[in-house]
């Protein structure tokens, strides 16, 4: 299945080992610009590893990863400008607890992009408004609820103006009451045409937002399809079993 438009992310035969254990087994995946891909699969199937290889938090040992056509070479200096086009949101938020919400957002702008403080704060406030928590800007992350923290994390990633957003189970650490506020922000983001790769088990989100659902198991992509096809007519028994367990 080849998506239309120019490729934002290309994985070509990507393999990754932890010691002797192969976590990714020659993955091939292309995500087009503006496409929204939801990745699902049982725990330990390599979803996180894949998404972390895309922004090089983990280095793959075999295969090629291209971001907007430019291959990652493994040299931090050379890859940095390419990787700056990706933003990442983690399951455990990973906000910086010693900085206020606003500082969390302006921090990389002033240190990595060398932007003047006032300009950075302007951008940060705009994104905090976008995730609907501008009034929390002066608080510290640990004074906020989980849902609020995750929305700050999304705003923080957006501040760096990435063209691709990666989400690794953004709602798995949240209480049920807070999942919706985070998903709403993500749905809105999808509306802006952002390229998104989202690891999640929120099948409602997959149905309404995704262009494509990718199902992984044991370090491989088992099958991928448009959501309506994926949910109504999965081709593999493994997929059916998985869906029957989570739906």
């Amino acid at each position: 299945m080849s998506p239309p438009g120019k490729a934002a992310i290309q994985l070509i035969g990507v393999s990754k080992w932890y010691g002797g254990f192969q976590a990714l087994k020659g993955l091939d995946l292309t995500v087009a610009e503006g496409e929204r891909v939801v990745v699902c699969g049982p725990s330990g199937s390599g979803k996180s590893t894949m998404i972390r290889c895309i922004n090089q938090l983990e280095r793959h040992q075999k295969g090629d990863i291209r971001i907007h056509g430019r291959a990652l070479c493994g040299e931090p200096k050379q890859d940095a400008p390419v990787l700056r086009e990706t933003g990442m949101v983690f399951q455990s938020f990973n906000l910086f607890p010693h900085m206020t919400v606003l500082e969390n957002c302006t921090f990389a702008l002033t240190w990595v992009k060398q932007m003047p403080q006032a300009e950075a704060e302007g951008i940060a406030m705009a994104h905090l408004e976008r995730v609907r928590i501008p009034e929390q800007a002066r608080k510290y992350p640990l004074q906020l609820s989980g849902g609020q923290q995750q929305r700050v994390a999304i705003a923080r990633a957006l501040c760096m103006a990435p063209r691709i957003m990666l989400f690794d189970e953004p709602t798995s650490a949240l209480d049920p009451e807070m999942i919706k506020e985070v998903l709403d922000v993500m749905v809105e983001l999808a509306g802006t045409g952002m390229t998104m790769v989202v690891v999640t088990h929120e099948m409602g989100f997959a149905r309404t937002v995704a262009n494509r659902v990718v199902f992984m198991d044991q370090g491989e992509i088992v099958e991928q399809a448009a959501p309506e096809v994926f949910f109504s007519a999965p081709r593999y028994d493994r997929t059916r079993l998985f869906l029957s367990q989570i739906l």
Binding site: G87, N94, F107
Partner: protein, 443 residues
């Protein structure tokens, strides 16, 4: 059955039962919760009372405050009261050692400069606190050496001392500028000079710094202090010099060693591990002896490293090794997600380490770091063994004075108080710092 749902109204909260709160509640819960507990409370209270009254009796009530020599004290109260005149007479020596009396003002000025240098760190609206703190650690010692040691300096030393002087001027000019105008010293001068663009402003800022340096150079090269060799340094002054340098050196060195120990580069890692384990597995006193007796063997004949310097180097290396392990513990407590979030936002190793990881790690390490500083401060008493006259050795000298022969307990008591005050202040400050830095960041 009606369709309208029941309305849930939460109950108002009750106050806690009176016997569980306030002084009475606290005493009940903590001092008299059971019979054994009550007995222990009374026993403890009794022991405390006896100890305190005995000490007060000896040190204040029965003490002698005026006497010519120890004989007179003994004739008056025997051994049941303290004999303070000997200690009072020796106070200048306990504090300054054998430093020439007419030069002691230099030490005082030196410490006043230290205080003045540190004051901006506590002032509001001062933004350059990091730079001021760094300059304090790196450049104040240069200026201090000029005051404390004095004597003729070569060209290099003069240049370095002037750097210290210029830094001090800069600290206060920047502090005033930031408190008054919200601009650093360089930026303020550029503003006043009407700099058109950033590039010019930067150049004018650097020009202003250069002017400060030239000014400092002029003063330093004109003013010359008599040399006071480190041989005669002693007392509290010497203790503060050794522990101050040890403290200032060990924290940054410990951070570097700890980072080195976690480095991916094998050479660096092996060096750091060896250094840390070597110095941590040998008592400080052995290291002091080694440096004192063996260092000269390794140096070419004729090169003389003074005794104080040898002690300082030994203390610094020893303290760094301990500090490195404390810092490593702190680094380990920071979740991996913090590194990952920093990396995902495009921060490099040094940026994420210094801006994300260390500030968090140092905060949780404050109690152990200050504990280490306190230990270091007290450990400097060991330098008396290699013939330096620190506070402890000075206090022993009192009892060897012919007029105060045998007066040992009183000077010991006195320096114990000095050590206590310093260590207590350090530990209180650390608690205070912890509380302030932890604001809003409790999990």
């Amino acid at each position: 059955m009606s369709d309208a749902p029941l309305v849930f109204t939460p109950r108002p909260a009750d106050p806690p039962p009176p016997s569980t709160i306030g002084v009475v509640g606290w005493m009940r819960a903590n001092l008299f919760s059971s019979l054994p507990n009550a007995i222990l409370t009374f026993l403890g209270g009794y022991i405390f009372y006896v100890v305190v009254t005995t000490i007060i009796d000896w040190a204040l009530v029965k003490a002698v405050w005026e006497a010519e020599n120890r004989r007179q004290c003994l004739d008056l109260v025997g051994r049941s009261g303290a004999c303070w005149p000997g200690v009072v007479e020796w106070i200048p020596n306990l504090i300054y050692g054998l430093y020439p009396k007419d030069q002691v003002w230099r030490i005082n000025i030196g410490f006043l400069i230290l205080l003045a240098w540190a004051v901006p760190l506590w002032l509001p609206r001062v933004k350059s606190k990091v730079a001021i703190g760094l300059s304090l650690v790196l450049l104040y010692p240069l200026l201090a050496s000029y005051f404390f040691h004095g004597g003729a300096q070569g060209v290099v030393w003069t240049a370095l001392i002037a750097l210290g002087g210029a830094a001090f001027l800069w600290v206060w000019l920047t502090t005033l500028a930031e408190m008054r105008f919200g601009l650093g010293f360089g930026a303020l001068v550029a503003r006043l000079a009407g700099a058109a663009d950033d590039e010019r402003a930067r150049r004018i800022g650097w020009g202003a710094l250069a002017a400060l340096y030239v000014l400092a150079l002029l003063v330093v090269s004109q003013l010359r202090f008599v040399e006071v060799p480190t041989r005669v340094w002693g007392g509290l002054f010497l203790t503060l010099v050794i522990s101050g340098i040890g403290i200032a050196f060990s924290l940054p060195a410990g951070v570097l060693l700890a980072l080195g120990r976690r480095s991916q580069m094998p050479l660096i890692r092996v060096f750091c591990v060896t250094f840390i384990e070597l110095f941590r597995s040998v008592p400080l006193i052995t290291i002091l002896f080694m440096f004192n007796t063996m260092l000269p063997l390794f140096l070419p004949a004729g090169v003389e490293v003074n005794r104080l310097l040898r002690a300082i180097v030994a203390v610094c290396l020893f303290a760094s090794a301990y500090m490195a392990e404390i810092v490593r513990g702190g680094l380990q407590a920071i979740p991996k997600g913090q590194y990952e979030a920093a990396a995902a936002m495009g921060l490099g190793f040094w940026q994420s380490t210094s801006l994300i990881i260390l500030p968090q790690a140092l905060r949780i390490m404050i109690p152990s770091i200050v504990g280490n500083f306190i230990g270091l401060f007290k450990d400097t008493t060991l330098v008396s063994i290699i013939g330096l006259f620190d506070l402890l050795s000075m206090s022993r000298a009192v009892g060897e004075d012919t007029r105060w022969l045998g007066l040992f307990i009183e000077p010991f008591f006195f320096i114990t108080m000095i050590y206590f005050v310093f260590c207590f202040l350090m530990s209180q400050y650390s608690l205070n710092l912890e509380r302030r830095l932890g604001e809003g960041q409790r999990r």
